[in-house]
Amino acid sequence: MRAHSTLHEILPPEERAIEHVVARYQRVAPAVTRVARNLAGDEELLVRLGSSASARHREIVLDPGVFQAAYMRRAPVTPGEVALASALHEVVHLVSTDLEEQRPIPSSWFQGREAPESDAPVDLLTALAEAGGAAAVSMFFALEDGRQELTGMASYPGARSVLTDMYQSSIRSAMEAAKPLGQLAISGFALVGEHVERETLEKAAQPRVAVALADATPFFEAVKEAEDAWEVATLALQILEVAKLHGLASEAPSNESAPEKKNREELDSQALEDGVDQVRLLSPIVHNLDGYERTRQIEQRAGADGEKGPSDVADDAATDQLLRVSQAPTVFLPTGQGGRLMVSGFPERFRRFGAAGRETLIEAASAWGVAQRHVSGELFPLFAANQRRGLRSGYDAGDISPHAPLFLGAGLYQRMYERRALRSRRSYAVSLLIDGSASMLQPRPLSLGSRTAPWGLAAATLGAWTLARLCDELQIDFEVALFNRSFSARPDDSEWSFSRRKSQATGGLRRSQGQAADRLTNTINHYLVKPFNSRWRTSEDLLAGLFYSAAHPTRAAAEARKAPQESPPVGMFEKAANVDEFNLSYAAERLSRLGATVRVLVVLADGMTRGSLESLARSVDSVEHSGTTVLGIGIGDDTVQMAYGRHQVVERPDALAAAMVDGVRGALRRSLALSGLDEWWTRAATRERMTTWKEQAGA
């Protein structure tokens, strides 16, 4: 039996997705940054993620796609170890690689051949290509890669041992597949990096390569001691001579034409790279000539003043989106399924429509018969009493403790004031979860056979507004959240910034992540319009602004077109299928964390979940079992009947707002009845509930 499981076996494919790779990197990022600063000797150095690796002045950009490849190895390493080792590996190469120093080409590089007449200084890669062709450049990169790892990671033997395990797991198959020159390059890389013993390589190599290995070993040893890249280049040329002596590399025929020479050298170079690429972790800057030049171009593109070109900005938006997705919380369902949920505040610019929204709200409340005043009349005294009973002691945060005289006597002045153990003193909490997909903004009949209007989200927002006022008056913790599936808006987004960010991130991610771009940009979003911990007064304008956008989507869109940089991102409501169960589970968890005795969760949607109806039903069941009452309201859609134990289907806006308010009121009243308060109005509430709300047996 094997002593170790390999990474490939323990890591399911979905855990190798780019957002998971980035999330794992984020855990090691602080330590990686510190190591990078140590290596660069620059305490100001920034290390960030980007779509292309580069090392600019005081900034290193790591491409998470490079890390992703490391997770494909069949090596006895853990995902956390790979996250660290792959990032450190990239940092070491980006910090250490600078081949721009110019020198005259050493004449010793042309032994037995005519050296060029000019002794003008050139950069190392130009000199090497001139002296040894493409194969010499490839051999140089293989050796320099190993040398940088040996020296750069000398202080981090743990991380280096992860690389060793990864390389060792690939060496046998790589040697089998490689051509003779590739085998020599693999051996050089592995010996310089001290990852494998020579005997192991000799056993896996072809006989003539094994013989060449013995001759080349002193040169490999010298590479370890090399002071700079020029010295490594000299050794690369010498090793290539050894390869030629043993027939591993092609010899130049006497009458070879220039194109034939180029072709021959490129074939050798390809054989060399193909071999060593099977073993090493690819780092673009030390991969080959193309990789080095591409990385340098990216570095230079930033310009001397650090100003970014359009491509950099797009890359930033893409990386930014990638980071947001990787940092999003993962929600687990009772079915065991898990998914990321983009949780953020609702865009603040919706306040801009607040004043117009308030006027529209008054009109709509009147038109749809939703009372906005005296909703809590008879309930207030009883709720207030219950709240008091919920107190753990007679003083609240900031109040003087009843034990103050004792503390004063003991000189413990700072303990005069006591903080309560409970975060909230509320016994009741209500969470309202509203479908925020574009279909909620679609026109639908106001009543049977009548004209149509976009009342879905408007009526839901009106219901939320009414409930919010009720809860605020009764001092009940209250939350309104909106959920949809689209590109996720930020709290500070305007219509302009949202659409710009969206197009840049989508374009950038398509370039760097291919098909995964859709998954990374079309996310499951959960916006907190009025969180539990904020005061209703501060959220009123936001909700009113949302109401305006919902009641008059065309007008809102027109205003956004007129002033896109000031207007809220009305384009955030896209027609896409929601995944209700993740939002429900997340909202329920937030609700339960409050510690309230009575918890009510109202979910409002106008279509079937794109997830699984079974998952949704089990999620609802699970939340109900935890003691939270879940009310499902379907707008013109009866899917709620299949998923929610307590449900109602509404076809008109007045019915929707009434269902929301009455449903919550009924649930609260029932909780009072359960606690033994048998008053006339609780019995009335039960009758009322039975006539409007359908409940499945045993729900």
Partner: protein, 331 residues
């Protein structure tokens, strides 16, 4: 003739400093008590330069050059850098009774200086009697007073010490008595840096009080210094273990002292962890497959804040990943 002690510069730069040791006069009423307060030399102590600096200062004081005024040294450093140990070992070298007086937010001037207390007179009545506080008691004979956690005490408490620390060099007691700073008394202090770190109870040192001290910084030791300490204390520990422990500590502490909050940890690996806890863990788990990993899990990780755990574990993976094979001790 008093015996002498030689202090050598660990950096090899300065010349050795030879100083005469103190003697506790036999006619002191608390002679036996004071002699009992002279600390033992720690055979495992490694001077990283602080003791030599103390000795250099002492040497100047003894020569009492023109215009000289006695100065008092406060050592400032993070937890577990060995500040108090340095001062205690200096007292041991000079054969001075060592009084370590911890200052806390609860300490009042009466605790330090003294107060009049009521005592039974044996006849059914009471009489009031002056009782020296901790500092006053120490000042009445040869002593090295270490006021530890200087910046934890309230400023109003420390004001009472101003006269003692400056040119006046004496404490005026409410009884009318003046207790002068003797020539064989040395005043030292220690404190943690006042920044955003979690040193509960510390505060910015009052400027007037701080001005009465020479404040020297004590940094965390570097890899080689830690390794020397571990090897001095545990000569039989196998080198791969002492090497790994030293590297881990140096790396974590470099993260702790990083100025950038985004890349630093909030809990350092103190010398107590390095020299006491981890080696004990290695003895407890010496037979485990990976003794260092077990010691790390049981004796290091529980000490740290939850949010620092990822960073600690990353450092572990980068520096060690798989601990050395045993046996740990008995090289």
């Amino acid at each position: 003739m008093p015996e002498t002690v030689v202090f050598t510069d660990p950096s090899g730069e300065g010349p050795p400093i030879e100083l005469e040791q103190f003697e506790v006069p036999s006619d002191l009423p608390d002679h036996a008590h004071r002699v009992g307060k002279i600390p033992e030399k720690d055979p495992h102590y490694v001077d990283l330069g602080m003791l030599y600096r103390f000795a250099a200062m002492e040497d100047v004081r003894r020569r009492f050059p023109e215009g000289y005024q006695p100065l008092h040294i406060a050592v400032r450093g993070h937890m577990g850098t060995g500040k108090d140990h340095d001062i205690e070992q200096f007292a041991a070298m000079l054969r001075l009774p060592y009084y370590r007086i911890p200052l806390t937010g609860e300490v009042r001037d009466v605790t330090l200086i003294g107060s009049t207390l009521l005592h039974g007179d044996g006849k059914g009545g009471t009489e009031s009697r002056w009782e020296d506080g901790e500092i006053t008691r120490a000042l009445r004979g040869p002593s090295l007073v270490n006021l530890s956690e200087l910046n934890a005490a309230g400023a109003e408490t420390l004001f009472a010490l101003h006269g003692l620390l400056d040119r006046y060099a004496a404490l005026d007691l409410p009884t009318g008595e003046t207790v002068h700073l003797r020539n064989d008394v040395r005043l030292f202090g220690t404190m943690n840096p006042t920044d955003l770190r979690d040193y509960a109870g510390t505060q910015t040192l009052n400027k007037a009080f701080a001005d009465r001290w020479v404040i020297w910084e004590k940094d965390f030791p570097v890899v080689e210094q830690i390794k020397t300490m571990v090897e001095r204390r545990y000569p039989s520990m196998a080198e791969p273990f002492s090497d790994a422990i030293s590297r881990l500590a140096a790396e974590v502490n470099a993260s702790f002292t990083a100025p950038d909050v985004a890349t630093r940890v909030e809990t350092p690996m103190s010398l107590r962890t390095v020299l006491d806890r981890v080696p004990t863990g290695l003895r407890v788990y010496g037979k485990a497959a990976d003794p260092l990993r077990r010691a790390w899990e049981e004796f290091v990780l529980p000490q740290i804040d939850t949010f620092d755990r990822d960073h600690y574990e990353t450092v572990w993976s980068a520096v060690v990943r798989k601990g050395p094979k045993g046996p740990v001790f008995g090289k």
